[in-house]
Amino acid sequence: MSNDVKENRIASVVLLLFSATYFAMAFFTIGQPASKQILGPDAFPKAIGILMIVLSAAYVAQSFRGMSKEDEARAALIGADEKLSSYVDVKTVGIMLGLMLIYAFIFERLGYPISTFLMFMAGVLVLDRRHLVRDAIIGLVISFGLHFAFTFLLRVQLPAGPLSWFGL
């Protein structure tokens, strides 16, 4: 069994569980309206839930039994989507995702220019560190440049972080 098939099977089951959860929540978590309603707030979620369960069940069937002839014909007609290589550089992706989460975490705490500069440098260090001086300058210009452009030209407030102490 190829990886591809296995992944699809796992995904289809996960989606089925997700759909069932969504459907069940429509019964238990949506409150009663206080005003007059023809269709209550839970009607659409329930309908969508049923649709989702049916479709993910079809997906489960498809992933365990293979595509129907009709779909194969359709696929041949449309042309397969661009296939992703199954190779994953787990380390790089993992580190970058971790960096993104940290970036989100420090975005307001450290302020925009500093956190952005850190994110930029960290990204550069992870991905390619052959032009560090050049990249450091680019990083400085971008992070601080954008901050000032937004704050003073567009008057969109970005978090200044510790820089606010200098009145920036």
Binding site: E7, N8, A11, Y22, T29, I30, P33, A34, S35, Q37, I38, G40, P41, P45, I48, L51, M52, L55, S56, Y59, Q62, M67, D71, R74, A75, I78, G79, D81, E82, L84, S85, Y87, V88, D89, T92, V93, M96, L97, M100, L101, Y103, A104, F105, E108, Y112, T116, M119, F120, G123, V124, L127, D128, D135, I138, I142, S143, L146, L154, V156, L158
Partner: protein, 504 residues
């Protein structure tokens, strides 16, 4: 008829050096605002309103209209170059625009977007000038039932977004519909799926999901291959400019996009995002090269870009002729006009002709300026792709964060975006199309609200959807669109059953 007098009056107002400069500043600022993610035309205008205080009313609206058009256009730039939609109305442009860029055809894609915007903008202005009030009066026929039918017809677009498996596309649409139910339900005030999180009460921001699913997942895909294909750049192949072939294919797409966009977004008032989706679906049905759509067909850029600009122009008609804003952006412009001391509405044409005609004239001028400004910029934008891949990836991350944060000043949105980036990556691995999720999100909420509003109006009778002619027409359109691929089977079945009589 003093139509030409009016137009002359208008150009007399618009072609003062001051107003020309303002129109230019407007489209220039607008383009920048459009390119910057997060700050859409709405926020852009809201933030720049104070600048307009010192200006004449006509000059002020000229500036604002320029920003509006510029931003509508500028949003497509990042969609095409880095798969990160700048505005909700440019999500569709990602589908084929980015694929074109990947094939080294970013230049023609950007050019097609600029020209499409120009054509559609000019068309909408013409309509405003010739039959604005009549169009506006017709628009009032779109009540909740018509809205529902329109959204329902819009959902049929999903078949054109499907890849290999229809089941996956439909499933993906329902996920989008499910996401759309998050937040306070407008019709009852009851919170749904909010997990007592105050930031979820307003629902998930559409661009948070779109940027995650498209831009960040693209980054992840590229990161996966980073070590294998270090320093690869997206190469530019062929000319920067549209070829003869491109023109031949684009012109019908411009036409269809402009007309459908004007109807859906302008007359029916369904907004530019819906308009762009519908025009894409229409391309999938009508264009000669429909099989190429989704893999970098120029029609996939030309039509939606024309459509969203036609919709923006249509929204201006609502604003000026009815005094009713047809979009968030025009709502803010209405506020600004009131502050200036003008009352948009049916009386505006009578009371302030120099204002209205000056604006119309400047809309032509603005559109031309937009074109003049942006075509030379194509060469510059394309250079962005020359940046080494690793830097480009980092830039896209920074860019996405900035855009998503400035929308709501919310850190939670940033985490959500990263989450959707990961989900988007897995969807691509699994061959599940992400576009229908966005479609479901765009249409889901509007459709549900319209349906429940309609049923309140009719006291629960479903007949309201088929007894009103426009609604019925739209529903029939939807049915035809769904069943269309199967008609040939009916024919085959007919011949099998009644083979002889059919042959005879």
């Amino acid at each position: 008829m003093n139509f030409f007098d009016n137009l002359a009056l208008g150009f007399g107002v618009a072609v003062t050096p001051m107003n020309l400069v303002l129109a230019f500043i407007g489209v220039f600022l607008g383009t920048i605002i459009g390119v910057l993610p997060g700050i859409g035309p709405m926020t852009g205008i809201a933030l720049l309103i104070p600048i307009t205080f010192g200006l004449e009313p006509t000059s002020a609206i000229i500036l604002m209209a320029g920003i509006y058009y510029g931003a509508m256009y500028g949003g497509s730039t990042t969609s095409i170059l880095v798969n990160a939609p700048g505005e909700s109305s440019s999500v569709v442009t990602c589908f084929d625009g980015y694929q074109m860029a990947k094939k080294g055809r970013a230049g023609p894609a950007l050019a097609a977007a600029a020209i499409g915007s120009f054509i559609a903008g000019t068309f909408a202005t013409l309509v405003l000038m010739l039959v604005g009030p009549a169009v506006a009066a017709f628009a009032l026929n779109f009540g909740p039932p018509e809205y529902f039918s329109l959204m329902f017809a819009g959902l049929t677009v999903v078949t054109s977004l499907a890849g290999r498996s229809l089941v996956k596309a439909l499933l993906s649409t329902t996920i989008g519909l499910a996401i759309a139910t998050i937040g306070i339900d407008l019709q009852s005030g009851v919170p749904r799926y909010t997990f007592r999180n105050p930031e979820l009460l307003d629902g998930l921001e559409f661009l948070v999901v779109a940027i995650g699913l498209f831009a960040l997942s693209e980054v992840i895909v590229n990161l996966c291959n980073m070590n294998q294909a270090v320093q690869e750049r997206l190469e530019i192949k062929g000319g920067l400019w549209m070829s003869k072939e491109d023109w031949k294919r684009s012109i019908p797409a411009f036409t269809r996009g402009t007309l459908s966009g004007f109807f859906v977004g302008g007359i029916a008032g369904a907004g530019a995002a819906v308009a762009s989706f519908v025009s894409y679906g229409l391309e999938k049905k009508m264009c000669k090269y429909k099989d190429e759509l989704g893999q970098g067909a120029i029609e996939g850029v030309a039509a939606p870009e024309a459509a969203n600009n036609a919709a923006a122009g249509g929204a201006m008609i609502h604003l000026l002729c009815l005094g009713i804003p047809g979009s968030g952006t025009t709502a803010i412009m209405l506020g600004a006009l009131l502050m200036i001391g003008l009352q948009p509405g049916p009386l505006l044409f009578v009371q302030n002709p120099q204002f209205v005609w000056g604006l119309i004239a400047s809309m032509y001028i603005g559109n031309v300026m937009l074109l003049v400004l942006n075509l030379p910029l194509v060469g510059m934008w394309v250079k962005i792709l020359d940046i080494p891949l690793y830097l480009l990836m980092v830039f896209i991350i920074l860019f996405s964060f900035l855009g998503v944060y400035t929308m709501n000043n919310s850190v939670q949105d940033l985490f959500l975006m990263v989450g959707f980036g990961v989900i988007g990556y897995f969807l691509r691995r699994l061959d599940i199309p992400a576009a229908p999720i966005i479609l479901g999100m765009v249409l889901g909420d509007l459709m549900e609200q319209a349906m429940r509003q309609s049923l309140m109006i009719s006291d629960g009778s479903l007949a309201i959807f088929v007894t009103r002619p426009i609604s019925l027409f739209l529903l029939l359109l939807a049915v035809i669109s769904i069943t269309n691929p199967y008609w040939k089977y009916i024919g085959i079945g007919w011949r099998k059953l009644f083979g002889r009589s059919a042959a005879a």
